[in-house]
Symmetry: C2
Subunit: 110 residues, 2 copies
DNA sequence: TTTATTCATCGTATATTTGCGATATAAAAT
DNA sequence: ATTTTATATCGCAAATATACGATGAATAAA
């Protein structure tokens, strides 16, 4: 039991769910907001702002990276993280489209 | 350890994350899409469309309900599910606003 | 009244996520 | 060369999610 059935869904639904899941934790929402308003996205500064341990923040950053919403470059000892605009805008656009589609003619049956 | 630290974040971030998390599984994306295009949202019909067992679909529906994206009414033996437009539109709007805010002036530091 | 239908919930197994401290690695500073 | 600093990763524990079959509850049909 508890087999992974996710591959049985359409690739669009999988992609939308991956985007949503990546943003499905307040820490990752906070990280994205923080990255969006900073010029300098040094990892340590993100850690300072969040109420979580350094290793935990690092993990959340890896997840955002895995989902393609964020990219990182090392510069010396520091690690600089940025929103991966190319991908983020694209996927966020697709998500938004899906939401608009759902919102169309709001059928109410009960 | 593995304590739940979610309450340490802003209520806005928590709300946004809850919305995203509710949509963070392809089955729940598929359910929302299905509900959006149907006049009659009988539970059994949703089950037929998804590649999952009845009990699993029921669980996913409960999660969407818990997140306020869906509401259900019993009509006889049947159970009718609908998108909770009032709440869905509101939360989806807030999420969209947050995304727009993030997208503003797309700072690139690395 | 008995039987069938529809759906929710329980119990359970497994998988995944969340979180931390400890440790590793690699550059920078001394 | 040694120490400090910044960050990633490992190992672990606990929490949560995913999935199913079995069972329960309630209405409808026979």
């Amino acid at each position: 039991m508890a087999v992974n059935k996710k591959s049985l869904f359409s690739s669009e639904d999988i992609a939308l769910a991956e985007f949503a899941k990546a943003l499905g934790h307040p820490a990752r929402i906070a990280i994205m907001k923080e990255l969006a308003i900073r010029n300098e996205c040094i990892c340590g500064e993100i850690v300072e702002v969040l109420p979580l341990a350094q290793s935990t923040v690092s993990q959340h950053l890896q997840e955002l990276k895995k989902a393609g919403l964020v990219k990182g470059t090392v510069s010396g000892v520091r690690s600089c993280y940025c929103i991966n605009w190319e991908n983020f805008s694209k996927v966020q656009g697709l998500f938004n489209l899906a939401m608009v589609e759902i919102n169309k003619n709001q059928k109410q049956c009960c």
